[in-house]
Each structure stands twice: as structure tokens, then as C-alpha cells.
């Protein structure tokens, strides 16, 4: 019953999201037929192209047409962007960019945040602590696009260590694909890692003040064991919540970084679809993004009990 309710709520959300996107796009000025014909458009041709694309029908009919297609598993075809390609295929081809990019970014930010945050918390007010706090303040203030451009200039162009943008297909060149994601993932990781460092530090400080830490120390455990096994484990509950939210944001599209590094991810796909008023593609892209986010949320909700035994049995 609980699962059914959850599933029902997810489907209702998806329906609402799709209806909202559709309405917003419908009332947005601009017309895919106009974009297709450009400056050479004559009224007669416009009418023909609009009819070919099914844009001459009333809004409710267009939405129903789309929705009934989705129910049959058909997300329609792109109107402008590589016309003729199925929306499902375009959206699915963006996922192997967006998902690993988001995962790698969060991975790197945790890699940065956990040791730094724990270190800072172990000697609050110390020199290391203030250094970490200053660094995280700096990391937070650097805009991603600027950092991206700088990283491309130095690491890719001057030093030639990594590709300056674009990404080969995983199956064609898996190594090259991973390399292409490294720099953008690091750029995304920096500000997120900076936030996480502060979260880790705060959570650790709180954990280190708990009674069980005193007990652990009293048992004569080494400081390393106390921090890594007892304090960190408890602090991770808070950290994983924030990291989860960050991951969700990244899945919805790391648009700026995708644009700077020319990565064919979901954010860029949706942006170009909006600029081209490619209704089915925008619908499909947003739908996929929303579904992804909900699935992840669901997954995160079910992992809390694994990290924190206290939550077990409550649900």
C-alpha cells in the first residue's frame, strides 16, 4: 500500500510537470515552423509546415496527442533539432553524459570535503581550520563558467593534458569519454565540495561533542579510530542528505558547465530544444529529468536506514 501510494504520487507529479511544461511552452512567443523556415518564410509555407508538424491543432488536442503517445511508450519525434529523430533516443543518448558527470562531480566533492572537513573539525579554531574555511569560502565564490574557461585554457590548451571540450561516445572510446568528463566534473566538484566541507565540519563538530565519543575515547581508542569509525559515520547522515540534493541538482542539468565544455548532456539538450521551441523534445527532456530526480529521491529515502540504524523501523 505504501509503495502504491508512493508510485501514484510520482505519476501524478510527472503528469503535472508535463502539463505545466506544455502550457508554458505553448504560451511562450516563437513558433517552431518559423524557426525552421527562418528569414525566408512565406505565409503559405508557414501554414504547410505548421500542418506537417501538427501545430495547427488546438492546445488541448496537441497535449492529448502527446500524452496518449507517452502512454503507449512513444515520446514523439523532434520537430527541429535533428528532425526525424525520436525524442526517446535523443534523451536517452544524453543520459550517459549527464549521469556519470553528476556522479563523478559528487564523488570528487566528497573526496575533497570529507578529509578537509574532518581535519578542520578535529582542531576547531586552529590554523588548519581557518585555512580550510578560507579555502571553502574561495571555492564557493568562484563561478563555474569562469573556472571552466580557465581550466580549459590552462589544463587543456596550454598544457594539453585533457581534451578542451566535447566527448566521444562511451562505446567508441571509453577512455576518451572518461577523460572528457574529468575536467568538467572537477569544475563542478569545487563549489559543491566547498559547501560539503563546511557541512562535514559542522556535522563532525557536533558528533565529536557527543557522549559516545567521550566513551570511545575513554575506552582508549586511537584518535584516528574515534574520528573515522565513530564521529564520521554519524556525521555522514547529514552529509549524505546535502550531497544527495546536490546530485539531484546536477542531474537536472549542469547546464553552464555542459555548455562551456560542449558536452551533449541533458541540460544542453533541453536548452537548445527550448530555444528552437521543439515542444516534443522539451517535454521529453523535462519528463526524463523529473523521472530521474524522483527515482533518485526515492533511492535516497530508502538508503537512509542503511546509513543510520536509528531510522530503521520508523517507516
Amino acid at each position: 500500500m505504501y509503495w502504491l501510494k508512493k508510485l501514484g504520487a510520482m505519476l501524478a507529479t510527472l503528469l503535472l510537470v508535463s502539463a505545466l511544461t506544455f502550457t508554458a511552452l505553448y504560451f511562450l512567443p516563437g513558433d517552431p515552423a518559423l524557426l525552421i523556415l527562418g528569414t525566408e518564410a512565406e505565409p503559405g509555407e508557414l501554414a504547410l509546415v505548421r500542418a506537417q508538424l501538427g501545430l495547427d491543432k488546438p492546445m488541448a488536442v496537441q497535449y492529448w496527442h502527446w500524452l496518449s503517445g507517452v502512454l503507449r511508450g512513444d515520446f514523439g519525434r523532434s520537430l527541429t533539432f535533428s528532425r526525424g529523430y525520436s525524442v526517446a533516443r535523443l534523451v536517452v543518448s544524453a543520459l550517459p553524459v549527464t549521469i556519470p558527470l553528476a556522479a563523478a562531480a559528487i564523488f570528487f566533492s566528497l573526496l575533497l570535503a570529507i578529509p578537509l572537513g574532518a581535519l578542520a573539525a578535529s582542531r576547531p579554531g586552529g590554523r588548519l581550520d581557518s585555512l580550510v574555511l578560507t579555502l571553502s569560502q574561495t571555492g564557493l565564490s568562484i563561478p563555474a563558467f569562469w573556472l571552466g574557461i580557465l581550466a580549459i585554457q590552462f589544463i587543456a590548451v596550454e598544457l594539453g593534458w585533457l581534451p578542451p571540450g566535447g566527448m566521444p561516445k562511451w562505446r567508441a572510446d571509453p577512455g576518451g569519454a572518461a577523460l572528457s568528463l574529468l575536467l568538467p566534473a572537477l569544475v563542478l566538484a569545487l563549489p559543491r565540495g566547498a559547501i560539503l566541507t563546511r557541512i562535514v565540519r559542522a556535522a563532525m563538530q557536533e558528533a565529536l561533542g557527543q557522549d559516545y565519543i567521550r566513551t570511545a575515547r575513554g575506552k582508549g581508542l586511537s584518535e584516528w579510530t574515534v574520528i573515522s569509525r565513530h564521529a564520521l559515520k554519524n556525521a555522514l547522515v547529514t552529509v549524505s542528505t546535502v550531497a544527495g540534493i546536490q546530485l539531484i541538482q546536477l542531474l537536472a542539468g549542469a547546464l553552464v558547465v555542459e555548455q562551456v565544455f560542449s558536452l551533449p548532456g541533458l541540460g544542453r539538450l533541453i536548452l537548445s530544444a527550448v530555444l528552437l521551441r521543439d515542444l516534443p523534445l522539451v517535454q521529453g527532456g523535462i519528463f526524463a529529468g523529473a523521472a530521474l530526480i524522483m527515482a533518485l529521491n526515492f533511492l535516497l529515502d530508502s538508503t537512509y536506514p542503511l546509513i543510520d540504524p536509528r531510522i530503521r523501523g520508523v517507516a
Binding site: G30, L34, I36, T39, L48, G166, G176, L275
Partner: protein, 495 residues
Amino acid sequence: MQKLFGLFLAVILLAGCSPQAAGSELVVAIPTDPDGFHPHQSVAAASAEIAFNLFEGLVKAAPDGSIIPALAEEWEISPDGLTYTFTLRQGVKFHNGRNLTPEDVVYCLTRLADPDLSPKARDYTGVQRIAAQGNQVVITLAQPDAVFLALLTEFGASIYPKEVEGELSTKPIGTGPFTLSAWEPGDSLTLAKFPQYWNPQLPKTDKIILKIIPEPTTMVNSLLTGHVDLIPRLEPDYLHQVEGKSTLQIIDSPMNLVQLLAINNAVAPFDDLRVRQALNYAVNREEIIQGAAWGKGTPIGSNLTPAMGAWYKDLTAQYPYNPEKAKELLAQAGYPDGFSTTMYLPAPYPLHRNAGEIIAAQLEKVGIKVRIKVIEWADWLEQVNRDRDYELTVVGLTGRIDPHTMLNRYQSQSGRNISYFASPEYDELLVRGLAETDHEARIEMYQRLQTILAEHAANVFIMDPSQIAVMGRDIQGWSNYPVYVLDLAPLSRTE
């Protein structure tokens, strides 16, 4: 977590030993995906420039703007200009292995001219009959149409085998020097040499990868790091990043694009000829070319560019830069203190945006206050291009190889006449120009049309921006066309 990191490192290390592809290969950067490859449906310039390498029509355009044989080895036009007889080249094969037949030509061109199926049919309303006759195709027109042959060079008039009709958009099958071997939307298109191409000399390279890179900075960086061999169209704003590099060559040539400050002739105060002339005197073209195009452009005085050869008439002397004269004309028109107006600029085109900003500053000097509104391309097309609800705008009009298709947008009733230009003499001359079969007489008429546009100050015609191609020094075979195509077949890398 350590394991995960180790895995990531391992994947990265693997990258060092990716396999080398056999055969010659070039990587060309393009900014966007095509909008499909059905010759009758696709209308984006991005599609036509790639399709030039996949498809052919009966005839095609040469780099000098002349019309040369393609699938038709030769053709004959009857003295009355009504009957065109094309003799097909022997032994031409489609990419699916089938031989080209006259029936394929009849099928494709008939469908192209059908207004119920093809958005491009309006150009072919004069076609009366298309018939196969042995190895020939005979096309009969209702009245002489001097543009007809030029139209047959365009992407729309490509010939494809009838049996692939349904899938053509994503799986183009033509007779061109390359086949489309892969298309990953948003990522790349891969063109492979078609070994049975009728001209065994072409193409020179086995495989060409067209990499889609929307960001000009990334495009330039990819070229600098050797991930890309050639950028066919570089935004002038990025020129300084590639200039003076010993490994690169920069080839700039006329693009045949009419960049103009379009004026809505139907609204006050621009319905007054003196005001429009004042704008023409107030605009300093040289400054725009330097400021917006980094010096890479040719000033123009009417709606054709020097790339059009004999058709072009140089009218740049009609309105030399003269702000005093502009003020005088404004005063005569009743605006001694100038006036305020709005200029819409299309966001995705930095060249037009920059030009618009420079123009606004120039107009300010003669007392015209310009409020600039930068709008999205979709909004521009709707508000300015379709509804003509604007006063001033800066845009570029793509060149064709025949002057008629460039100039007929100023016909008073034309759906593309965004300036609301109206002149009975102009309309009448357009009709006569189309029917004229004598080449010299026709040239004279089209030069007169350009003069009328300039005399009436229909718009401020600014420049033909140069197409800036940047490529490695080892790349040869680049050729520039006065139409929007990308000729990949002659390109190769010197060893």
C-alpha cells in the same frame, strides 16, 4: 571509495591507448545539428551545407557562382526559354547501390513542385511538365524563368531514390561523394567516402567527422589543441585567438551575406524618405566593419554583394558617411532635434548585435536616440520577421546564386518584405527580369533594381561579412562558395 577511485584512474589510463583509425581522416567543427536531410522538408542552412556532400541535383554551383554539370552531363534550353532538356550522366550510382534513372529525377522534381507535399514548392510554380525521355529529362515551363537553372542547384532539387522516401531525414541516400555513415545528434556526423562516386578523383579523404561544437571558444580551443582540423565559419570575435599561430592558416573570403539595418518603411518617421536617407548618411560602414567584424567585411550599398559578380552594382558611394548631411535631412523632415526609436537585435548573432550597438552610437551623434532590445531568435522571427512589428533591426540575408531570389523579397506584396518597401517600378522590373532571356539585358535590369533600393533608401545596407575559415597549415583543398555550402570532397591533409 578507494576502489572506485582506482577504477576511475584505470579508465583514464586506458584512454592513452585508444586505437588509431586506418585511412585518412579530417575533423571539421560545426556549431549545430542539421534539421534532417529530406531535401523537400529540411530548410536549415546547417543541413544544406552538409547535404552538398551527400546529394546532387542535375546541376550544381561552382565556387565562382557559375552553374556546372552534376547528374546532368549537359543541358539545352530552347530559344523561347520554355523547354529544358537534361542529358543524364552514365553510370551514376546511389549510395544504396542502385543506378540513377531518369525516372528518379522525374519523381523527385515532381514531388518538390507539389505544394501539398513540399514547403519549397513556391519556387517551382511555373513548372508545367517533367518527363523522362530515354536518357534525358525534359522540363517544360509555363513562362520563361531565368532563375530556374539556379534553383536546380539548391539542396531542395537533390535527386534520391524513390524507395528511401520515408527514412531520408535521418538516413540520407544520394549520389554525392560522401555517404552519411553515422549521426549522433548533439555530438557528431561521420561522412565516409562513397567509393562508387561518378568522379573517381573525389573525395580526397576517406572519412570526415563533423563535430558539433556550439561554443565558439571550445571550437577554437579544440583547433588549437589539434582535436579539430578545420573551422569553416569562425565568429570574427574569436579571430585574435588564432591569428599569428604558425600551425594555422586563416582563409577569409566573401560570404555573400547581406548584413543590413532593416528599416520599417511603413511607420513614422521612417515612412519619410529623408529620414531613411539621413540614417544612411549617419551610418559609418567602415567603423562597423572594423568594430563588429574586425575588418573582415566588404561594404555594400544595396541588397546584393560583390560575390554576385556581374550582377552586382557598387552603390557604396550613394551615401558616404556624412553626419552633417544627416542632420540637415532630419531637420528638413521636421526633426531638427532628432527622435527616439527602438532597435531589435537577435541574441544568437554577435555580429549583428555588435553592429547594432555601433549603429546606435552613430545615430546618437545625429540626434536619434536608439533603445536597444536584444531578443531571442524565436522572438525575432515572430515579432520582426513575421509580424513586422518593429522600427529598426539588424540581420543578415543569406545569398543565393541568382539575383532574383535575393531581390524579389522587396516586391511590394512579398511575404518576406520585412521593410514594407513599395515601388511600382521595382515590382514591374522584377516581372520583366524573370522573363528576360537575354543575359546582358537581364544584368542591366537587376543592376537597376539595386539602384532603386539604394535611391529609396529602403534600408541601410551595411556589409558582406567575410567567411573566416581557419585550418591547420597541412590542410589543402579549401574552396569558398557564394552560397551556403561546405565542399568537403577536395579537402585533404598533406603528408
